[in-house]
Amino acid sequence: MSGTKTKATGAPETGSGETTERRLNMIEAINDALDIMLQRDDDVIVMGEDVGYFGGVFRCTAGLQQKHGRTRVFDTPISECGIIGVAVGMGAYGLRPVPEIQFADYIYPGLDQLISEAARLRYRSATEYIAPMTVRSPFGGGIFGGQTHSQSPEAIFTHVAGLKTVIPATPYDAKGLLISSIEDNDPVIFFEPKRIYNGPFSGYYDKPVKAWKTHPDSVVPEGYYKIPLGKARHVTEGDQLTVLTYGTMVHVAEAVCADKGVDAEILDLRTLVPLDIEAIEKSVEKTGRCMIVHEATRTSGFGAELSALVTERCFYHLEAPVERVTGFDTPYPHSLEWAYFPGPVRIGDAIDNLLKD
């Protein structure tokens, strides 16, 4: 780890003043957050395809139905439109539903209910009704999921007025951000990077997979804690360049910067809307160089928004054009996954471009 100064999140406030050294992977951390919220708030319900009896295809809801009962945690028909639609009605009633969409790629049948209904309900009813739902969904590639189990559709949602979009990159954050999202009175799209459910991924697909237990942010305290929405996390502090990223790519960018010996300041954005613009401006003004990394397709991706914001707001601090590292504008390939994935070579090229003068 030359050049980067890794900043551990450290012991969080739990309220009780005590922390427990307990290491969880992301799945366990998400399960823990759901369990705590089901316990704390009778209005929280968890539903989705296979989430009840079976506990979810990724096991994020394992054991919750057994513990909290079938009226609080239940299976649904295979109908994303129906899942989001009934969640809107439940929100209007006064519940706080946490629907799971099994894969982000399956969310499209629910888009009308999300965009025209959930996102607009507070506004169109002048606050009489709200849709305080948190839609959890595994997203992103790197698991040989092919075109229908690998997509990163976050920019579809960041484009919608009234929705918040949250993407955790560590077990510690996943728990705290999910609790904040569930308690938030606005509809939240909570995308879980499934490639890092079980361990941080460096992007070197041919190297052995690491487990979370060696990572500092796998320390997840017991009990309730929150991480505020709209606040980025400094993964590393550095002076040479700023990296704006989220989800799986946080870990890929970190590994590549370390390998290249770049003194990078990596910001894990955590929330795309609302965005932590202050942290971004401050960092880019310091480093003068900015690389944006996301797995999603390039054109009209969230990187385009980030690039525009950085250019508009930090132009006179920039010493090189902003670099965007993204997936290609193709459907997510199956057999060519590692040719598609924005891994070390693509990120390395962007770093070289940024630092060449």
């Binding site: 028909p77 639609g85 969640a87 309900l121 169109r124 009704y129």
Partner: protein, 275 residues
């Protein structure tokens, strides 16, 4: 209600919705969006929530026969069936969806009430122009829902005598005399005749009620017009454009609100203040 139609400064929805998209939580009346059939799974969800909370309240929703073709309606029927939700799904079959006759929603093959069979729901098909039939069927379905016997789909067979909206001209797509030839009659007239035959009502009373209703609407309209009409000023303050998008105003909307404020001062100098 008329303030809402005018989207004026008296509109409690802050001038954000098309006319008649009312909302009244106080009356348990949910605001529809104007998208089609999206309210149907929402009503089922509301009913599921009521059941989850052990509440005795039930939900009812209405959708046109044309919009039953939407996937949302299928989702609503499936969820209602699977969870035995205390909900009444009403299909208002008025035979016309703007210019498309009910056949475009499948009415030439089967009835809308018959859809219930495939979902295992109770299905009723009633004369939607018979007020007593509507009342009886709804009461039966409500009782079923309240006693946890399950959801009911009711097809109200009726006819859209007028155009779809004030900007629609039905003579462009259906015969001009179709309206006169519709055999089941005007529902208000039918109820009137029925009550007169029972000796409970008279032509005079009816005429008087008609007049009173017309006067009431006229008076309310006049009163509402003091709060302005759409496009002629007297709307809610400009800053309300940015409110309620989220519970709290995020920085990007705050910045955009500043721009809107600047534009307002240039476009409408001297008008009512920003806030």
């Amino acid at each position: 209600m008329i303030n809402q139609i005018y989207s004026n400064k008296g509109d409690k929805l802050k001038g954000r919705q098309l006319p008649i998209m009312y909302s009244s939580r106080e009356h348990s009346f949910f605001t529809i969006s104007g998208n089609l059939a999206t309210q149907t799974p929402q009503a089922v969800g509301w009913a599921m929530a009521s059941a989850i909370k052990g509440d005795s309240r039930i939900a009812a929703t209405w959708v046109g026969e044309g919009s039953t073709a939407e996937g949302d309606f299928h989702s609503a029927c499936t969820f209602a069936s699977v969870y035995n939700a205390p909900v009444i799904l009403n299909v208002i079959n008025n035979q016309w969806a703007i210019s498309s006759f009910s056949g475009f929603a499948g009415a030439e093959r089967t009835t809308f009430a018959n859809r219930a069979v495939g979902y295992g729901l109770a299905g009723l098909r009633i004369d939607g122009n018979d007020a007593l039939a509507v009342y009886a069927a709804t009461q039966w379905a409500a009782e079923r829902a309240r006693s946890n016997k399950g959801p009911t789909l009711i097809e109200h067979f009726t006819y859209r005598a007028e155009g779809h909206s004030t900007s629609d001209d039905p003579t462009a797509y259906r015969s001009a005399q179709e309206r006169e030839e519709w055999p089941l009659g005007d529902p208000v007239n039918r109820l009137k005749k029925h009550l007169i035959a029972l000796g409970e009502w008279s032509e005079e009373q009816h005429a008087k009620m008609d007049e009173e209703c017309a006067q009431q609407v006229k008076a309310a309209t006049k009163e509402a017009e003091k709060n302005g009409i759409l496009g002629h000023g007297l709307h809610h303050p400009f800053r309300t454009m940015f409110q309620d998008v989220y519970e709290d105003l995020p920085w990007h909307l705050e910045e955009q609100a500043k721009q809107a404020k600047r534009e307002r001062e240039i476009k409408w100098p001297g008008e009512e203040p920003w806030s």
